[in-house]
């Protein structure tokens, strides 16, 4: 193969891979390339082989299992239902958190006084009053954490366990 053949084939293959000229035709736009190809039997034969091979790839068919679609759709419905339930659980938790925060804000003074009364009655040190208030305020968070832990203890088939769009 002389350097001109090499150049023309490389050029043609570049165009061929990019889809121009159309893969199954010998539609050469470049005049010099076209002139060489029309005169060079070896290059023509090589290009025809590439085209034949690409055409063979296009003819490749695989058998499909007719049940595959139905099975997939069924799994999608089941997973969709689980995801919907999970979303509802999170919405419920968010609402519960909001209500809890509002109740805490509204009852802050009352709880503070109650904690003070309890501390005095039991004879606990002064630090126990803010500690009791903090425990009361944090109690909804502890309940939320417990519920979230229970939700995650039953994951949707590891739905959130893997990262998409990772490349090697």
């Amino acid at each position: 193969m002389n350097p001109e053949c090499h150049r023309v084939r490389a050029q043609y293959l570049e165009q061929f891979a990019a889809g121009k000229p159309a893969a199954d035709t010998l539609d050469i736009e470049d005049a010099a390339q076209g002139a060489h190809l029309s005169a060079c039997d070896a290059c023509q034969a090589e290009i025809e082989r590439w085209q034949r091979t690409a055409a063979a790839v296009r003819r490749w068919r695989v058998a499909t299992n007719p049940e595959l679609r139905d099975r997939t759709v069924l799994r999608l419905r089941l997973r969709s239902e689980k995801l919907r339930q999970r979303r509802q659980a999170y919405q419920f938790l968010a609402a519960a958190c909001a209500v809890s925060a509002a109740v805490n804000a509204a009852s802050f003074r009352l709880i503070w006084d109650a904690a003070g009364f309890l501390r005095a009655w039991l004879g606990w040190p002064a630090v126990s009053q803010p500690a009791l208030l903090a425990a009361w305020t944090a109690s909804p968070l502890i309940v939320v954490a417990l519920v979230l832990w229970l939700v995650h203890a039953n994951p949707v088939d590891g739905a959130f366990a893997q990262e998409d769009f990772r490349h090697d």
């Binding site: 790839v57 490749w60 068919r61 695989v62 595959l68 893997q162 998409d164």
Partner: protein
């Protein structure tokens, strides 16, 4: 010009509608997509894995991932590119977890486990000839390395552009070209051994 502009606008609208449907996990849309892309996705997965059973498994996993991660789809990209990317990443995850299904197993050991579809059989001779040809083609394709088979299928079956193939495979453009050239040469050699001038 006006027609192509109208078509482009329609495509944009379709893509936005698709993105919205995926974001809201619209069940009818997903079922429609499964039906529409089932053959192309399965063919890509068979090309990737050379194992139809594994391909079917990954096929289902891919659609479940589409359901879960639908909000990550961006309308400016072709849906099939995104779909193939998910399928490929799931395959790579599988390979990492079970290396025995990976590159070492992609040599076509399971080629006898699935048949080549032959939709039209006008005569017994034609049927025989086509089956022979298809099986020969399948043997040749499955005899290639997975990285070549993948780009050949994406380019010549899916008609993806080189940039799109690069995005799906996470490779550079020059790597894709190189794989394509080598894949063509290797397949040509498998199909016509000794046929090179």
């Amino acid at each position: 010009m006006v027609l192509s502009l109208t078509m482009a606008v329609a495509r944009d609208d379709d893509a936005r509608e698709l993105a919205h449907g995926l974001r809201t996990r619209n069940p009818e849309l997903l079922e429609h997509l499964v039906g529409k892309y089932q053959y192309r996705l399965l063919r890509y997965l068979v090309a990737l894995t050379a194992n139809p059973i594994l391909a079917e498994d990954l096929f289902q996993e891919t659609w479940l991932r589409v359901l879960e991660r639908g909000r990550q789809y961006k309308p400016e990209y072709r849906f099939e590119s995104w779909l193939f990317t998910i399928a490929r990443n799931l395959f790579l995850d599988r390979v990492r977890r079970k290396p025995e299904v990976g590159l070492g197993a992609l040599g076509g050991d399971d080629e006898g486990e699935f048949d080549v579809a032959d939709p039209s059989t006008p005569s017994p001779y034609d049927s025989y000839r086509r089956t022979e040809e298809s099986q020969g083609l399948q043997r040749a394709l499955l005899g290639l390395s997975a990285i070549y088979r993948e780009v050949l299928v994406l380019r010549f079956q899916e008609d993806l552009g080189l940039e799109e193939i690069a995005a799906v495979t996470g490779s550079g453009l020059s790597t894709v070209k190189s794989r394509l050239y080598r894949g063509l040469a290797a397949l040509e050699q498998q199909l016509h051994p000794g046929g090179r001038a």
